[in-house]
């Protein structure tokens, strides 16, 4: 996949994280800890503007104000992410995020998000019943991820835990381009969630979805076949190590550009794999990989 590091190097990423009501001290602490860790991880990026609401401060008013603030600040080239952690409910009509004081519904959130100009948007709703928010929040150029497939999955999900883990675990960067994209984080968190229920021999009470085509249902396993995941693959969530530095070093731009071209060629070749003789595919791929390795070597020098 294409990292778009060059283009993004001049843009700002805006992130609003909300840790809602826990109900019990244990959940309260867990939600706040997740939000704090997300903030810590994102603030290592100088281009990130991060707002975190948790505990008593995570009110509906504060959330509305935060989103309005992003609406005022964000430009077209920027990216925006909203991460919701906590308990969600669904009464067959409205999805609600439980907050101190009045709750906020998905229907109320949607217009606030629509007023944000950022052309790349991501909503990660990790709450129970979050699946009920998907249809209301989806829109072209926005990736929506929910921890549950519907409003009927009401048990506290573990997805949030693994979403946070994806943001700090280099293993989540499956293509090793030193950027964890929304798609990589989704796949990581989903796989870990599935594995959690399997190894615990428990019936899974959550099934995460990703929707980034702006319409239709979310997909459990985004892929070119179901038309999901392309936008999420281009949403850089966290940049790790050298990529971050590289994005800040203008003298590397030429090499980075070449690298990007090679990566695009590799991506294209992968899509042609099924239609090519295996030997030819391997030979061509090997040549591209070798060239990419040489360019990367030059960048690293």
């Amino acid at each position: 996949m294409t990292p778009l590091l060059v283009a993004l190097s001049l843009a700002t990423s805006h992130v609003v994280t909300v840790a809602g009501l826990g109900g019990e001290p244990d959940y309260e602490q867990r939600f706040a800890a997740h939000a704090a860790e997300i903030e810590k991880l994102l603030k290592t990026d100088a281009d990130a503007k991060v707002i975190t609401l948790s505990g008593a401060g995570a009110t509906k008013t504060a959330l509305v104000n935060a989103l309005q603030q992003v609406g005022r600040d964000a430009k077209l080239d920027d990216s925006f992410a909203l991460i919701l952690i906590g308990h969600g409910t669904f009464d067959n009509t409205d999805y609600k995020l439980n907050l101190p004081g009045p709750d906020i519904t998905a229907a109320e959130l949607a217009p606030l998000l629509d007023r944000i100009a950022a052309s790349k948007q991501l909503v990660v709703n990790t709450t129970s019943a979050s699946g009920a928010s998907l249809m209301l929040l989806q829109r072209p150029n926005r990736t929506v991820i929910t921890a549950t497939k519907s409003g009927m999955e009401k048990n506290a999900p573990v997805f949030a835990r693994y979403w946070v883990e994806a943001m700090r675990d280099p293993a989540a960067d499956s293509d090793k381009n030193e950027t964890v994209t929304a798609l990589e984080a989704y796949r990581y968190a989903d796989q870990k969630t599935v594995s959690y229920y399997e190894t615990q021999k428990r019936l899974a009470t959550e099934h995460a979805l990703l929707e980034d085509a702006g319409s239709g249902d979310g997909a459990r396993a985004p892929s070119p076949e179901n038309g999901k995941g392309q936008l999420a693959a281009r949403f850089p969530l966290v940049r790790l190590g050298a990529a971050q530095k590289a994005s800040l070093s203008p003298e590397k731009q030429v090499l980075l550009k070449k690298k990007e071209e090679l990566e695009i060629s590799i991506d294209k070749l992968k899509y042609q794999k099924a239609a090519m003789p295996a030997e030819e595919y391997r030979r061509t791929m090997q040549a591209l990989l070798l060239e990419l390795a040489r360019v990367q070597g030059a960048i690293d020098k």
């Binding site: 280099p170 293993a171 989540a172 960067d173 499956s174 293509d175 090793k176 381009n177 030193e178 796949r187 990581y188 796989q191 870990k192 594995s195 399997e198 190894t199 615990q200 021999k201 690298k259 090679l262 990566e263 590799i266 992968k270 391997r282 791929m285 090997q286 591209l288 990989l289 070798l290 990419l292 390795a293 040489r294 990367q296 070597g297 690293d300």
Partner: protein, 753 residues
Amino acid sequence: MALQQQLRLVFVGLSLATQWACAQTVELKKPKAKVDVVVSPNPAAACWQHKLYGRTAEAVSCFTKLQGASDPLARAESAWGLERYQDAVYQFQEAVKAKPTDITPRIRLGTLFRQRYQPKDAGELLGEALELDEKNTDALLEMARVAGENYDRKAVEMVKQALEINPKLATAHELLAKLSAEESNFALATEHAEKALALLPQSLDAMAVLGAIDLLQERPNTTWFEKALKINPAYGEAYNIGGELLILNRRYNEGIALFRKAVEIRPGLWEARARLGINLMRLGKEEEAYKELSATYEAGYKSFPVVNTLRLMDSYKNFQTFRNSRAVVRLHKKEASVLEPYFTSEMERIMASYDKKYGTSVSGPIQIEVYPDHEDFAVRTMGMPGLGALGVSFGPIVAMDSPSGRKPGSFHWASTLWHEMSHVYALSITNYRVPRWFTEGLAVYEETAASPDWGDRLDPPTIIAIRDKKLLPVAELDRGFIRPSYPAQVTVSYFQAGRICQYIAQNWGYPKLIEILRDYGQSKKTPEIFQARLGISPEEFDKRFLPWVENQNSKIVTGFKDWQERLKTVVTAYRAKNWDIVQAEAPALRDIYPEYVEAANPYEMLYEMHLAKKDQAGAMAELKRYSKAAGRDPKLLKDLARLEEESGDKRAAAATLKRLLYIAPAQDEELHRRLGNLLLDEQDNLGAVREFRAAVASKPVDLAAAQFALAKAYRAAHQTDNAKDALFAALEAAPGYRPAQKMLLELTSSEKE
């Protein structure tokens, strides 16, 4: 079969297989207040007599005449006799409605339900009948049959109750003969069969039991089956009863031969055909098994065992088979690539060990089937006595749970495999004549002989059984496996049998166990064998063995109640993070009952305490004790490996993780990755290749890193082509992966040179 401590309460799931097992639990209710109970005579008694004694035309005519009777009970019997089962059920229900205080329709409908594989419904109706009249012998006997099908001890009690009411009940003696034969108590079985025949000379079932006993006691020229067939030439049930008794005594091939005869005599005896199919499946004769079971199903005999076995066999397409000259390993496709190396190499290790120990090898390949879904495995053990918890062997075929079929840490697959393989050898050496208690005892003994931290630990129910002197005399130990008299008796019997073998090995030497095994192969009995090999009678053996067991465990047996109370206090302190109390109290509790490694064990609490007090060395020492005491929690073992690695002892860390391979090798990419790295450090390059291959096969989130690690291991093992393949896979997944790119450049440059 193999059992493990954490899995004692199996058969609590929701599958059809487990419903079958659960449904037959029999509970008698207190009788209702007195009402005027009616006991109608069976209006079709004469018709059933015709049927029982093979007068088919007369039977059909008799049942047909009752079709238009005004009494719904008669119509029900007619429909049943003419094999119109749905109609029969309806008519019986009408009969119950018409005469609510008449006990007969309930008993008869209960009997129909039992015969048509609805034991739960049967139990309910018979319970209602007994509520109306607790002394009705027909209801008691039918309820006993329901209980007997689940190997419930209450079956025997209910038959005895019926005999107290009417000592001249031939059917009660018939049933007691069959139940006793199931427990391998052939003397008692013969006694009751003979009593049945004395009361009813044409007792066909008593003849069948006597015929089976003859075969089980090496009298192949028995005439009992012929006698039964002389009375009713179409009485395939005689061979069906005989076949089932042979199967229960693990004489599978002979049992199958009897089922074949049953079906030959009466092709429509679907119960026998179902048993034939199921047992053919157990012995790996799948094509014929499927044919028989399909025919049974198509004929409308859709019992749980038939349906579930067909379903299981349909799922075989999802399995992958690995063969060599001595073993066939069948693994589910989703985990075959991870598990195959471990199962194959362990099979080789086991066979090398047992060939030497038992002084013989098993002819023909041994087949191991590994089921990731416990319900599939449960189908394999359905209708068998005891708890089919983890593994079962049918001669050269072993079926077992996969390590992925259980919560990690709750199942030691290698220990189970050694256990089941011991059965394979014991059954082969004795030609299936080894008594259950001895083969189980030997198998339990072999588990800990393979490695001291394998096998089952002394569990609380066993401690209580020792304390309450509930261990059985060795001569009666089979009873504890087949028809337990208290819930934990099966597991206690496993423990006892294992300890008996340990006691014999300690005092007379291990070869004595093999001599005993060979004696059983010659159909010798326990008293004779004990006298000849050990020089003492079974009674004398008990006098020496039971105090030995008590003495071995005296500390925990005498102090168990106190230990439980003190553990509660420490757990409370642990939860409150009151580490000083944990530090002061937990070591003594650990030392009183060192085998306790389950939930809230002192080792774990002390480990947490040491961590809280920043004492890494203390934490590591505690986890080492835990591991040595057979603790199996993957998290704790991984923690131990980490501490060992941090302390610089990579060899110990690798050993700890290798131990975990025998417990939970599936669905754990981290385990394989960490172990692979440690082995690579130790220059065990082939070991590292094995582990990284397993990591790749575990479908890791980070596939590129796993493939790259595999490439490194291959390179270290000088397998350059394999290294290139793995490297290609790594870079294909992650083209920008720097370390992989570096290796690619290195390999390319070395090629040029």
